[in-house]
Amino acid sequence: MKLVVVAGTPGSGKTSVLMHTIRSLKQAGMSPAVVKIDCLWTDDDKRFERLDIPVRIGLSRDMCPDHFAIYNTDEMLTWAREQDAGVLINETAGLCLRCAPYPDRCLAVCVIDVTTGPNTPLKVGPLLTTADVVVATKGDIVSQAEREVFRERVNEANPGCRIIEANGLSGQGASELAEVISETPDVGQELTLRHNAPLAICTLCTGEMRVAKEHHMGVLRHIDGFTEYRGE
């Protein structure tokens, strides 16, 4: 079975691109299953169910959604195997840009919205720089020159990646993404993350509500960049 992890900011078009891609995968005779991770609420499962494929949602609630996705990867793989899936597509919630929940032996897909401007690829970090495929969406809203400048910036941030220009409305790019997925090797054992998740061991993680510095302990980073451990 293959594993595809799809990450990207909210509203970038992850689900729309995936809907078209899943249709292409089915046409090619593959059997995809989807796990959609979100924070508090989603009805994306209803959208995916229309494609007549196994769908599961996971709500991370109090946990960081990307940490939640990483922590539950094994369970997702087991579930997908039970469904006899050939490809497990894990669509992440995609929020802080800093997390890149990509294991080493998967196809890592970053979906990014061209209209957010050509500086975005520089801001995004490991979400984009460690991806195998960067899907640039909403290119129809900007000029060709702007699309090409955006592409150049993606190339600068992640020189080895494959860039696919996609349109979630028309389905442009979906068959290309499906082709890349079908060429991906099967997921291995003992997965390792491509990039560490952000530090998240502090009193805020365990529910501290008070803002003042004196109430916080753990691994903390100051605005000037100084990182310290405060505690016992």
């Binding site: 000029s143 020159a145 702007e146 150049e152």
Partner: protein, 256 residues
């Protein structure tokens, strides 16, 4: 990539899923082709199919061939190898950059010298009323200025053997001059237009309806005469427009 001596559109299906009425359109260098039809009839979609060099993988199922063959993937996607320039209907830039930085970046993406940047701004300023400055933010340019900059960018940085133009008559720039800039000799040019002058300046025109190509009309000698008349009228309109824009009066009609 070798020279382009033919662009072929293998037609697909319309919005209802029915086959298009024309099977294949062949276009040679030096030809200007108009694309006409009511709004929503699929003119821009046809242009997009060509820009993407679609291979039956878009909803229209059209295939675009270059020199009779399906182009390879890098030619379809890498702007350094792509030989197609497109002026879309978009009237504004969204990129949060200065004019100069943006053009430099675009020149880099197309493997061009940075000295082309000055030329782009210079040419853009011949098309627009108020001039564009290199240090200005792209996002504050007016619709007309943005459009003029896009046209000049295509003429210089994206200078390509295939040029696609979507409604150049919008945004109040000098449309005939802009077309002359873009449709240099020996290029394949496709122009989406609602403007009879531009439609009749084309050698042939593709008629669209319900998302599909309905017919291809060759401009007749009679139409060419009409076109010459229209160009004279149009120039008269433009001169009136300029006078009014400059704050002048136009109380007397000049017989043209």
């Amino acid at each position: 990539m070798q020279d382009i001596h033919e662009l072929t559109i293998i037609c697909g299906i319309d919005k209802s899923g029915a086959k298009e009425d024309v099977e294949k359109i062949r276009i040679c260098p030096g030809e200007i082709i108009g694309i006409v039809g009511p709004t929503g009839s699929g003119k821009s979609t046809l242009i997009c199919d060509i820009e993407q060099l679609s291979q039956g993988d878009t909803p229209t199922r059209r295939k675009i061939l270059i020199n009779g063959k399906a182009p390879g993937r890098d030619i379809r996607t890498d702007p350094r190898k792509k030989r197609i320039a497109q002026l879309s209907q978009n009237m504004h830039f969204l990129a949060d950059m200065t004019v100069e930085d943006f053009l430099r970046m675009h020149a880099k993406s197309r493997n061009r010298n940075f000295d082309t940047v000055e030329r782009v701004i210079e040419i853009a300023n011949t098309l627009t009323g108020e001039s564009i400055q290199p240090g200005q933010q792209l996002t504050i340019l007016s619709g007309g200025q943005s459009r003029a900059l896009m046209v000049a960018d295509i003429a210089v940085i994206s200078d390509s053997p295939i040029v696609l133009i979507d409604e150049i008559e919008n945004a109040g720039i000098k449309k005939q001059e802009a077309l002359k800039l873009l449709a240099a000799e020996g290029k394949i040019v496709l122009v989406v237009t609602h403007d009879p002058v531009l439609a009749l300046m084309a050698k042939r025109r593709i008629v669209m309806r319900n998302g599909g190509v309905r017919q291809v009309i060759t401009t007749t000698p009679g139409e060419m005469n009409v076109c010459n008349e229209l160009v004279r009228l149009d120039n008269y309109m433009m001169s009136l427009r300029d006078t009014i824009r400059q704050g002048g009066l136009v109380e007397q009609a000049v017989v043209v």
